[in-house]
Amino acid sequence: MAEKLMKYAEACKQFDPVFGLETHVELCTNTKLFCPAHIEFGGEPNTQLTPVSLGLPGSLPVVNKTAVDYAIKLGLALHCEINEWSQFARKNYFYPDMPRDYQISQYDKPTNGNGYLDVELDDGTVFRVPIERAHIEDDAGKNTHVGGADGRIEGADHSLVDYNRAGVPLIEIVTKPIEGAGDRAPEIAGAYMRAIRDIVRALGISHARMEQGNMRADVNLSLRRSPNDPYGTRSETKNVNSFRGIEKTLQYEIRRQAAILADGGEILQETRHWDESTQTTAGGRVKSDADDYRYFPDPDLVMLHITKEHIAEIEAQMPEMPRERRNRLKAEWNLTDLQMRDILNADALDLIEETVKAGATAAGARKWWLGELSREANAKGVSLEELPVTPADVAQVEKLIADGKLNDKLAKQTIAGVLAGEGTPDEVVAKHNYKIVEDTGAIDAAVEAAFEANPDVVEKLKGGNMKPMGVIIGAVMKATRGQADAKAVTKIVMAKIKS
């Protein structure tokens, strides 16, 4: 049954949306948060466990220092206050994928509190997203549902549990209620999530691949008539795992809640789910007493002490943040906003930077990655990074051009050779014996031959009509197998018709 929706523009006119995001980022530590089981994506089920991550009787958690370091890094990047003392608490609830039937998380004493992230929108507007906290917790195992349709939990006969993921460290970044976004709420949410992804990747603390579940978000939304009103009742859409999904969830929830409120209805405080196939959110569980998680300090884990020296040590290792880096490169490379956005949309910033570092000019690098190579990637349906060509290859080709050893046409043929797996640019050039013909004698002869074959063109040229010049150059190129330099050919032709 389709739910009643209000048109988006109308909904935003009548109501003020307030939203919040709880983003789970899986850390890429070597071992789990509380035990030394190695973490690997896609291993055999139940092979990445110690007694601790399997929740065996008698086992005890001991915190992984690298996970704490990663949390501090993220806290610094999000301008958080990093608490000298933080504490792990137990969140008690039963679920088959939870080895201890409680999650170890941080409750009232998180490692990171009270920060913000400045998010840049497509038109250059900067929106400040307030951060409530970024705390450390451990993940649960994975259920595979058997016997139902499409592996869905509904209608399944039973579930199979693989606890490999249990105990993998997560950081949950919780925003404060985000106000003042208006109809740009979905856009801000999407930009925020992308910014988080870029930051955790720049920090090297997460692979941040949403499709692998390294990153997922719970999207909260409530509406109110005016910004002066108190917050309305909110819905919480759980585990949305794509950027578009997050944007669409917000759009959908704004339209759905607006329709209910406009009819005088009430919003249920419930958890919902984003359904990619129907592009809607579906109602889930209404919040109830069952959500009494009985938090209390985990008596197996004493308080975490993060000293000023520890923070300073981490601070010294902080890389440049993505937004600062983009602004710096934009200035260094003399780009317009639009040019920069094209690079970002093509996911080519790292590649271009690498190419420049390898010696190419920014313009040259940009031309290859956004032109020829983007077309090739599109045609093959792969990302630029997956193409069998490196920034060093591109820089090498650029150098050959600059040195006058290749012209544009030969350069493209060289890149095509690299893509075809023929080796490095130098190897491709050597293999095909690509070179610009500098022997004016050979060019001279070819020009003479072209003149003889095209007497009418020669007449026109002599008469001052330069338009058919291309015919002669084309013929010369053909005769020299593209190795002549067009400029040199033109020079010889001009000298001949004047004589």
Partner: protein, 512 residues
């Protein structure tokens, strides 16, 4: 099978004496293990201390020890080669571990607790797993899901609990040593009721890794023995820092053996002993008080300066304990849900066959009454709306009790009290009255709440012929401080009795 007089004489030796015989080449570890296995076989029908006897494992370990070169043996701790029994609350790789609960029936752990690794490294064979109240919850061992353990002093009576199995095994000469766990008195109270020595080390002094959790902030593994020196020797083996336990103290074990040997000289001049005013009087049996007072008089005779100290918040300790302990129990025992190990019970027909219902019916069938009572109480104490009133208040009481101890230890070196208000009671006597059962631990609980070390040693027999225990309590991380007066008192009392308390124990299972 009848027990030879040689065997009876051998098992009646203290662990240190047995170790000395090994060193002197008079006996092998295998012979010691065989002697104890023979006693176990003879005693178990009337004592029922063991849930599982691991004779084959013990013999294998004994042979491995005996095969070592003299040089390698010399590198091992003093108790090397002496066998030991383990409370079934401690995880043993390859040996069924149940916590005396139906919910863990048949579970064979794939790993060893840290203390078990240490015992193995020390060349100490493991005789088997001893009975306890289910998940160490109780004071009589009657809450075991499998069997009732009998007190060797009177087999109509309980051995105390929860570690009644370890205490009875050591008292009945089935094992010279045992390990227990003490959350509110589970080593010391059975020690008191069976005439054994039982020690709860400083919290964090012995690794909890592999001790099945009851209440994590209170649990501590400790020794059970027949002499003070044996406990000191054992505690130095099992103690020390463990990187697998976040609550483990970084410093190594204290010099307890030296303190016990020093104490045996019976000179306590300059030692200040405090009698805890709140741990005596009303509710304590006259026979218990009489033996306690005589013991204190002995301490004075040896030069100790005895004064009374007040710990005004101790009357609140039981309340705080019965909030903190069940709260942690409710969370620690959540993992027994029928998914990964142990029992699984599907819901009856007519009830949806879901994972949630499977868990609920498994836990209903797998847990006994006392465990369920504590889980429900703890679930309540942590639930929204009541947390501050109960859990929050209990943690404040904990601070007050720690402060009471600090103030007391500003005045005296060591505190003493009766270990348990009564001697061993009859089966069933307190089973229908949880509160009366809980009162057993009134004198032992404060030490758990404050994390300080405490031990019980026999103070004699009450008018009913049953053992009475005296408790020594020392400051945090100063475990050696209680060992000295305990060893001194042990020596003085044995002289006054004309021999160890064991001379009064009738042991028909030894063919006597």
């Amino acid at each position: 099978m009848s027990i030879s007089t040689e065997t009876a004489a051998l098992v009646k030796l203290s662990a240190a004496e047995q170790a000395a015989k090994i060193k002197a080449g008079e006996v092998t570890s295998r012979e010691l293990v065989e002697a104890h296995l023979a006693v176990i076989e003879a005693a178990e029908p009337s004592i029922k201390a063991f849930l599982k006897v691991s004779g084959d494992v013990a013999l294998e370990q004994a042979d491995a020890f005996d095969a070592k070169s003299a040089e390698d043996k010399a590198k091992l701790p003093e108790l090397a080669g002496v066998p030991i029994a383990i409370k079934d609350m401690i995880v043993t790789k390859g040996i069924e571990t149940t916590a005396a609960s139906k919910i863990l029936e048949g579970w064979v752990p794939p790993y060893d607790a840290t203390v078990i690794e240490k015992l193995k490294a020390a060349g100490m064979p493991i005789l088997g797993k001893t009975n306890l109240d289910e998940f160490a919850q109780g004071s009589s061992t009657e809450h075991s899901a499998y069997q009732t353990t009998h007190n060797p002093w009177d087999t109509e009576r309980v051995p105390g609990g929860s570690g009644g199995g370890s205490a009875s095994a050591v008292a009945a000469f089935e094992a010279p040593l045992a390990l227990g766990t003490d959350t509110g008195g589970s080593i010391r109270q059975p020690g008191s009721l069976t005439g054994t020595v039982g020690v709860k080390p400083t919290y964090g002094g012995v690794s909890r890794f592999g001790a099945i959790a009851m209440a994590s902030s209170l649990d501590q593994i400790g020794p059970v023995s027949r002499t003070v020196l044996d406990s000191a020797l054992l505690q130095e083996i099992i103690g020390g820092h463990d990187e697998r336990d976040s609550t483990s103290i970084p410093e190594g074990p204290r010099p307890m053996v030296a303190a016990a040997r020093e104490g045996a000289k019976r000179d306590l001049k300059g030692l200040k002993v405090g009698l805890v005013k709140e741990l005596g009087g009303e509710g304590f049996q006259p026979g218990v008080e009489a033996r306690f007072n005589e013991a204190v008089a002995q301490l004075k005779d040896m030069g100790a300066e005895v004064t009374e100290v007040s710990c005004p918040h101790f009357p609140y300790a039981l309340g705080a304990y019965y909030i903190i302990m069940p709260s942690e129990v409710s969370s620690n025992l959540a993992r027994y849900d029928g998914m990964r190990y142990g029992l699984r019970v599907m819901p009856p027909a007519g009830v949806p066959q879901t994972a949630a219902n499977m868990m609920a019916y498994t836990r209903e069938a797998g847990f006994g009454d006392e465990v369920k009572r504590r889980i429900i109480l703890g679930t309540y104490a942590l639930s929204a709306g009541y947390y501050d009133a109960w859990y929050g208040s209990a943690q404040k009481v904990r601070t007050l009790i720690i402060n009471d101890f600090k103030a007391a230890f500003d005045k005296v070196d060591v505190l003493v009290s009766p270990t348990s208000p009564s001697t061993a009671f009859k089966f069933g006597e307190k089973m229908d009255d949880p509160l009366a059962m809980y009162m057993n631990d009134i004198a032992t609980i404060p030490a758990n709440l404050a994390g300080v070390p405490a031990m019980s040693i026999p103070a004699g027999l009450s008018d009913d012929g049953l053992p009475v225990g005296i408790q020594f309590i020392a400051p945090q991380q100063r475990d050696e401080v209680m060992y000295k007066p305990a060893a001194a008192l042990e020596a003085a009392l044995e002289e006054s009795w004309g021999g160890p308390i064991w001379n009064d124990l009738k042991t028909p299972w030894l063919g006597e």
